[in-house]
Symmetry: C2
Subunit: 160 residues, 2 copies
Amino acid sequence: MATETTSVPVLTADDLLKDWQRNRRLTRRTIEAFPEDQLFQFSIGGMRPFAEMASELIGMTAPVVEGVSTGRWEEYKAAKPATKTELLRDWDAQTVELDAKFPQIPPARFSEVDKVFDQWEMPGIATIQYAIENEIHHRGQAYVYLRALGIEPPSFWKRD
Amino acid sequence: MATETTSVPVLTADDLLKDWQRNRRLTRRTIEAFPEDQLFQFSIGGMRPFAEMASELIGMTAPVVEGVSTGRWEEYKAAKPATKTELLRDWDAQTVELDAKFPQIPPARFSEVDKVFDQWEMPGIATIQYAIENEIHHRGQAYVYLRALGIEPPSFWKRD
């Protein structure tokens, strides 16, 4: 009988960072695919326009890594982007910040349970996974917006 | 200066299985939230109805784990579900199969590169991550379908 492999480590912090950045590159392409006006206005079923979802994602990137790293949970305070150029500029700034800050997370913090943004109690790793899953979730919604607008979304496979 | 933590293991095989099953519970609730007819018919922008996406997910669960485990990549062959009850029955069968098979994946297979379903070359862990991310992506799309139908989607937070 095969041995159960449940306790085998399958992902390192660096693997997770790389997966996040791969996902962020695809999300960036999704932002780019929207015509400027529709990025800020188009909506289905009363949902938020994708620019607002993307702003939420920006607020859950560097601030989440900072919180997991240090235990200081400070909301993202920059002005909300009003144009696609501003949104992409903020996105790119976070790409650099994420690469700089993520490798500095103290190892013990991944398993330490913390109160996240004064709301949810969870271990650091779960908070990071949540941020990534939330991004994939909203990007999937943006794909429907794009299709409804008659625009081909970026290839889900392409992450470079 | 803080030490870089890039090589710190942050997720075990069991953590990943649990995250997948948590996500699958939310996807199951999303299937349940659709009225039967809309599950198989409703579409936006020429996209597939959610029943078809869910069938794709079923084809990427046990078959992916089997392939990563053994190197045998066999397409899911069961008849496509024609009702919500059949779809949920197949979903639940995979839940049991996933719990049984995932812990049997030989540790070395997570990093071994394999040709997946005769199409893509990637390590076992990347294939599993892809399957999970693909599920989150399509479930996000189902949330837009539900909102467009005037139906409140299940809470994204609730994973029990």
